[in-house]
């Protein structure tokens, strides 16, 4: 009886582990190496900004949402990066993907960041950028190609961003 149980147990484990071992976790689709899809969005200050107008500069695009806790930590870090590297040719754009633009505006005001915050109330831009998780920070080089895609944020990640930014600014 005991032998039977052991055999059944092994069979069950094999049954579960087999397919799992065979399944390769598909990499999330990414835009790295491709042209950054152009967009024009209204900013919290009422001005419209078009991404393609920043061709020739290194652009950091941070997609964020109120409900993504990491955004709360990431935005002040990005503001510091912006104030340091803005003069060197870096442009930081924050894009809110919240449907409620009023609350997104309030959130952005509370964060007191100095870089432009754009409001994407339609899902079009998020869809073009294949966004699945929040926040997402992309680095676009001077020729408009997405070079780095960073999903999520934890303390210390700003150093990774700095390395990426310095590399792109040197090009």
């Amino acid at each position: 009886m005991r032998k039977h149980l052991i055999v059944c147990g092994i069979a069950l484990v094999g049954l579960l582990a087999g397919p799992l071992a065979g399944v390769s976790i598909a990499a999330a689709p990414t835009l790295v190496g491709k042209d950054a899809p152009d967009f024009v969005l209204k900013g919290t200050d009422g001005k419209n900004l078009r991404l393609s107008e920043y061709r020739g500069q290194v652009v950091l695009i941070n997609f964020w949402a109120r409900w993504a806790g990491d955004s709360r930590q990431e935005m002040p870090a990005l503001d510091r990066i912006n104030s340091t590297y803005n003069r060197a040719g870096l442009v930081v754009l924050g894009v809110s993907v919240d449907e409620d633009s009023r609350r997104a505006r309030e959130f952005a005001d509370a964060m007191k960041v100095k870089y432009p915050i754009l409001l994407d109330t339609s899902p079009e831009v998020g869809r073009n950028y294949l966004l699945e998780k929040m926040p997402v920070t992309l680095l676009v080089d001077r020729s408009g190609v997405v070079r780095y895609s960073n999903v999520g944020f934890k303390r210390g990640d700003e150093h990774i961003y700095l390395d990426q930014i310095r590399e792109l600014l040197r090009e």
């Binding site: 024009v40 969005l41 209204k42 001005k47 419209n48 900004l49 078009r50 107008e53």
Partner: protein
Amino acid sequence: MNLKSRLVSIVWRGGILGVAWAIGAGMPVLAANANANANAPAAAPARAPAAAVSTAAPTAVAPAVPAAAPDPAATVGAAAPGTPVSDAPPGDFKTLDQEVQGMKKDVIDLNKDLFVLQEELLFPANTQVAVYVSMDVGSFFALDSVTLKIDNKEVKNYLYTAREAEALLKGGVQEIYLGNLKVGKHELVAFFTGKGPMERDYKRGATVNFDKGVGAKYLELKITDRVSKHQPEFKIKDWE
């Protein structure tokens, strides 16, 4: 019915017709095979590919279909004289003949539709409608966005950056929309939003009813200053 739906309809009808031909051609072949008729197998494959082509490439069918049209009669005729088909009662031939006549009519209709479609594909500029935006002076209006509706359907919503608005003020003309419309009467409504006099939010609409003829149509949305009223003015000019 628009071009796309017509194309789908034609391909669909062509497919049904092709299947009908294949079935229609297959039956006599089977009957002929049973009677050891040597002509029938040669006739059947020649017809089947023509039917297949008609489903895959409608434009290529135009010459092929009329050429294939007399074939069914030939098949029936070919099967008939070689061997006696006394098994089939005369009533069935009558039905078959009616079916063949119906198919011929379908082929003629399909050919007509393909001809019209070909004309439309060859001369797409005839359906073109282009809308341009221009600004004169612009002291009383800072452009923010333009929304276009044609026949009550939103076709474009364009947000202007400061740089783009400045380019318009310098005399630039922007092609904001390029699309296709059928010949006939249409209505274009343009909504302009921005900052008006005294930095107030401003939204105005302008409408034009136009006749789309056989040639391309050009419309210009003009934003000008009405100095006497200290207000912007929005006009739609129909370029003939």
